[in-house]
C-alpha cells in the first residue's frame, strides 16, 4: 500500500474539500456535503461525551454498593448519557451526516432544496448541544432523559430548564432536516429517477423525515409546557389544579417512541444499500422493503402507550397499544427476511461494511424479538423498568442503529474522504465491537429478568457477577469504538486514493469522483435502470 502519494491526476480536480480551506468557508457553507462533515465532527464529539458518562456508570456498577459516585451523581450520569446519546447523537447520526451527504447525490441533484436552512439546522443543533453541555457541566439534570412530570416540573433540584431548552432547540434542527429531505426527494430527482427506482436508503430517510416533521413538534410543545410550568410554578400538568401528569407522558412518548424509529429506520436504509452491494444481487422484494419503511413510520405513531402499561393507563388502552406494538414488528420482520433472501446465493464478500451489516442483522433481530416480550402486557408488568428493557433498546439502538451508522461510515468513507481505510484494522474493530457489545448487554437481559431495576446506583450482591461482565464488555466496546476513530483519521492523510467507485457499487453517488466536486455532478445524470442492478458478474472488490 502506498502511503502519502496519490496516483498522478487523482486529485487534480477541484472537489468540495479543497475548494476553499478557510474556516469561514466551512462555517458559512451551504454545501450539503460540508454540512454533513460539520455534523460528523460535532456528533462524534458528543458521542464521546455520552460514551464517557456511560463508562462512568458502568464503573460505578462494579460493586454492589456503588464503586465510584454518589447516588445523586449517578442519576445525573444516566440522564446525561440518555439525553446526549438520543437527542444529540443517534437522532442526527445517519440522517444529518450521511443523509445530508447522500440525499442530493443519490438523486442526482446539486444540493438539498433549502441549503441555507440546512446550515441553520446545524447551528441550531450546536446551540442546543451547547446548552445541554453547559447544563451538564454546571450541575447536571437528574430526571432521566424522559423528563417525567411532576418530578421535573416541581421537585428536581437540577438544571432542568436549560437542558429542556437545549433539547427544544435541537428539535428544530431535526425538523429543518426532515423538511429539506422531503422537499428534496419530491422535487429534485434526476430525469428517469422514479420513486420505485430510488435507493431504499432514501425511502427510509423519507419515512424518517415524516416522523421528524410530525413528531418533533409535539416533543417541542411538551418540553415548552414543561419549561413554562417549572419557571412559573403553574401549568397544565400540575396536579394541584387538576392537571394530569400522565398527559405529559402521552405527549412525550407520542414523539419519543417514533423517535426510536427515527434512529433505526435510517439504519435499515443503510443495510438495504450495503447487502445488495456485497452480495452482488438485486435486493429481494424492493417494494416490500420500501413500503415497510413507510408502514413502520405510520404504525410507529400508534404504539406510544406501551411505555405506560404500568402508569395507570386504562387496561383497554393497554390492550390496543399492545396489539399495535405487535403489529409494528411485522414490517420490521419483512425487512429482515428480505435482506436474508437477498443474501441467498449471492456472491458475498466480507468487507467491513458487510460485517457491520451482518452484526446489524443478528443484533437487531434479538432487539426486535425481545421487544415483543415487552409489548406483551403481562410480561411487561414483570420486566418493566428493569435491565431487560435497557438491554432490549440497546440491542436496537447500539446493536442496530450504531452498527448501521458505523457500517455506513465505512461504506461511504471512500466517497466522503476520497481515501481508503486499512481494511484489516476495520474488520478487526467490527469484530471487537460486536463481541464487546454482546458482553455488555446480553448479561443485562438476565439481570433484568432476575429483577434488577434500571436507574439504580446500587444493587444486591448476587447481581455482581453479571454487572462485572457487563462493565468488562463496555470497556471492550469502548476500545472497539476508538480503533475506527484512529484509522479513519489516519486514512485522511495516508490512505490510498479510493477512486470513484471502490466497491463496484450501483447508485448515482458512485458515478462521480471521490471526493465529489462541489456541484456533485458535471452534468445532471439520467437514470435508465432500477436501483441495485447488480448482475453478479461485476468485478470483485480489491480493497
Amino acid at each position: 500500500m502506498s502511503t502519502t502519494l496519490l496516483e498522478p491526476g487523482q486529485e487534480a480536480g477541484r472537489n468540495y474539500l479543497n475548494a476553499d480551506y478557510s474556516i469561514r468557508s466551512w462555517l458559512l457553507t451551504t454545501d450539503h456535503k460540508r454540512i454533513a462533515i460539520l455534523y460528523l465532527v460535532s456528533i462524534t464529539f458528543l458521542f464521546v461525551v455520552g460514551g464517557a458518562s456511560a463508562g462512568l456508570m458502568r464503573l460505578n456498577l462494579m460493586t454492589p454498593q456503588g464503586a465510584l459516585t454518589s447516588a445523586e451523581t449517578y442519576n445525573k450520569l444516566f440522564t446525561m448519557h440518555g439525553l446526549i446519546m438520543i437527542f444529540f447523537f443517534l437522532i442526527p447520526s445517519i440522517p444529518a451526516v450521511l443523509g445530508n451527504f447522500l440525499v442530493p447525490m443519490m438523486i442526482g441533484a446539486r444540493d438539498v432544496a433549502f441549503p441555507r436552512l440546512n446550515l441553520l439546522s446545524w447551528y441550531l443543533f450546536i446551540a442546543g448541544s451547547l446548552l445541554a453541555m453547559v447544563s451538564a457541566l454546571t450541575g447536571g439534570v437528574d430526571t432521566g432523559w424522559t423528563f417525567y412530570t411532576p418530578y421535573s416540573t416541581t421537585y428536581s433540584n437540577s438544571y432542568v430548564v436549560m437542558m429542556a431548552v437545549g433539547v427544544f432547540i435541537a428539535g428544530f434542527s431535526s425538523i429543518l432536516t426532515g423538511m429539506n429531505f422531503i422537499v428534496t426527494i419530491h422535487t429534485m430527482r434526476a430525469p428517469g429517477l422514479t420513486w420505485f427506482r430510488l435507493p431504499l436508503f432514501l425511502w427510509s430517510l423519507y419515512a424518517t423525515s415524516a416522523i421528524f416533521i410530525l413528531g418533533t413538534p409535539v416533543l417541542a410543545i411538551s418540553i415548552l409546557l414543561l419549561g413554562l410550568e417549572r419557571i412559573f410554578g403553574v401549568g397544565i400538568f400540575d396536579p394541584k389544579l387538576g392537571g394530569d401528569p400522565l398527559l405529559f407522558q402521552h405527549l412525550f412518548w407520542f414523539y419519543s417512541h417514533p423517535a426510536v424509529y427515527v434512529m433505526i429506520l435510517p439504519g435499515m436504509g443503510v443495510i438495504s444499500e450495503v447487502i445488495p452491494c456485497f452480495a452482488r444481487k438485486r435486493i429481494f422484494g424492493y417494494n416490500f422493503v420500501a413500503f415497510s419503511s413507510v408502514a413502520i413510520a405510520l404504525i410507529g405513531f400508534l404504539v406510544w402507550g406501551h411505555h405506560m402499561f404500568v402508569s395507570g393507563q386504562s387496561v383497554y388502552a393497554g390492550m390496543v397499544f399492545s396489539f399495535l406494538s405487535f403489529l409494528v414488528a411485522v414490517p420490521s420482520a419483512i425487512k429482515v427476511f428480505n435482506w436474508t433472501a437477498t443474501l441467498y446465493k449471492g456472491a458475498i464478500t466480507y468487507h467491513t461494511p458487510m460485517l457491520y451489516a451482518f452484526g446489524f442483522l443478528g443484533l437487531f433481530t434479538i432487539g426486535g424479538l425481545t421487544g415483543l416480550f415487552l409489548a406483551t402486557l403481562a410480561v411487561d408488568v414483570h420486566v418493566h423498568d428493569t435491565y431487560f428493557v435497557i438491554a432490549h433498546f440497546h440491542y436496537i439502538m447500539v446493536g442496530g442503529a450504531m452498527m448501521a451508522y458505523l457500517g455506513a461510515i465505512h461504506f461511504w468513507w471512500p466517497k466522503i474522504s476520497g481515501r481508503l481505510y486499512p481494511d484489516a484494522w476495520a474488520r478487526l474493530s467490527a469484530v471487537v465491537i460486536f463481541l464487546g457489545f454482546n458482553l455488555t448487554f446480553f448479561p443485562q437481559f438476565i439481570l433484568g429478568y432476575l429483577g434488577m431495576p434500571r436507574r439504580y446506583h446500587a444493587y444486591p450482591p448476587e447481581f455482581q457477577v453479571l454487572h462485572v461482565m457487563s462493565t468488562a464488555g463496555s470497556s471492550i466496546l469502548g476500545v472497539g469504538y476508538l480503533i475506527p476513530l484512529v484509522y479513519l483519521l489516519w486514512s485522511l492523510r495516508y490512505g490510498r486514493a479510493a477512486g470513484p467507485n471502490p466497491w463496484g457499487a450501483k447508485g448515482l453517488e458512485w458515478q462521480t469522483p471521490s471526493p465529489p466536486p462541489t456541484e456533485n455532478f458535471e452534468r445532471t445524470p439520467v437514470v435508465t435502470e432500477e436501483a441495485y442492478a447488480y448482475t453478479g458478474e461485476e468485478a470483485s472488490v480489491d480493497a
Binding site: 442530493p104 438539498v112 423538511m179 413528531g215 417541542a220 403553574v234 397544565i236 387538576g242
Partner: protein, 215 residues
C-alpha cells in the same frame, strides 16, 4: 442579468422546480405547525372533557367583544395578504407594497387588541400563578383553563409577531424592487404562513371565548 437568471438559485434546474420546492417546503412546515399547536389542542380537549363546568366559567372571563373584533381584523388581513400575493405575481409593485402595509397594520392591530386583553386579565388578577385572584366556583380548574388561554393565545401571538416581522422584510424587498413576478415565491409562501396563523385563530376563538355562550 435577466430576471430569470437572478431568480433561479444555483442548485435548481428551472424556475418551476424552485417554485414547487418553495411551496412544498412551506406546506411541510405548516404540517409541523399543526402538530406543534396540536399538542395544546389535545391537552385542551382532554381537560375540557374532564372539567366542562370549569371551562365554561373560565370562558366567561374572556372578552367576547374584543375577541370578535380581533377575528374580523384577522380575516380582513387574510384578504389583504391574498391580494398582496396576487399583486406580486402580476408585478404591480405599488399595489404590492400597499397590501403588505395593510396586512401589517391589521396584524399589528390584532396584537394591540390582544395586548389590551392581556392587561385586563393582569389587572383582574386572572393570570395563573401565585397572584391568581379568581374566587368563583372551580377556581383551580378555571386556573387550568387560563393556563390554556394564555398558552394557546400566547403561542398564536408569537406566530403573529414573527409574521409581522416577515411582512416588514418583504416590504423592504418590494421597495427595493427585489420582488418581481419571477421572484415572488417569498410573498407566496409568506402568504401561506399568514393564512395558517389566521386559521389557528379561527379555531382558538370559539374554543376559548364561546364555550359557554349558548346557555
Amino acid at each position: 442579468m435577466p430576471d430569470s437568471e437572478l431568480a433561479l438559485a444555483h442548485h435548481f434546474v428551472d424556475l418551476d422546480q424552485q417554485h414547487d420546492a418553495a411551496t412544498l417546503g412551506m406546506w411541510v412546515f405548516l404540517v409541523t405547525e399543526i402538530m406543534f399547536f396540536g399538542g395544546l389542542f389535545a391537552g385542551y380537549a382532554l381537560y375540557r372533557s374532564i372539567y366542562p363546568a370549569a371551562f365554561g366559567h373560565g370562558s366567561r372571563l374572556c372578552d367576547v367583544t374584543l375577541g370578535a373584533i380581533n377575528t374580523v381584523v384577522l380575516i380582513s388581513s387574510s384578504l389583504t395578504m391574498a391580494l398582496a400575493v396576487r399583486a406580486a405575481q402580476l408585478g404591480l409593485r405599488a399595489r404590492l407594497i400597499a397590501f403588505l402595509a395593510a396586512t401589517l397594520l391589521l396584524g399589528s392591530l390584532f396584537l394591540g387588541i390582544k395586548f389590551l386583553e392581556y392587561s385586563h386579565k393582569f389587572h383582574e388578577h386572572l393570570v395563573p400563578g401565585a397572584g391568581f385572584g379568581y374566587s368563583g366556583p372551580n377556581s383551580r380548574q378555571v386556573q387550568l383553563f387560563l393556563c390554556f388561554y394564555f398558552g394557546m393565545t400566547g403561542l398564536h401571538a408569537l406566530h403573529m409577531v414573527i409574521g409581522v416581522g416577515v411582512l416588514l422584510v418583504l416590504m423592504v424587498l418590494a421597495w427595493r424592487g427585489h420582488i418581481t413576478p419571477l421572484r415572488s415565491n417569498s410573498v407566496e409562501v409568506a402568504g401561506l404562513y399568514w393564512h395558517f396563523v389566521d386559521i389557528v385563530w379561527i379555531f382558538l376563538f370559539p374554543l376559548l371565548y364561546l364555550v359557554d355562550l349558548h346557555k
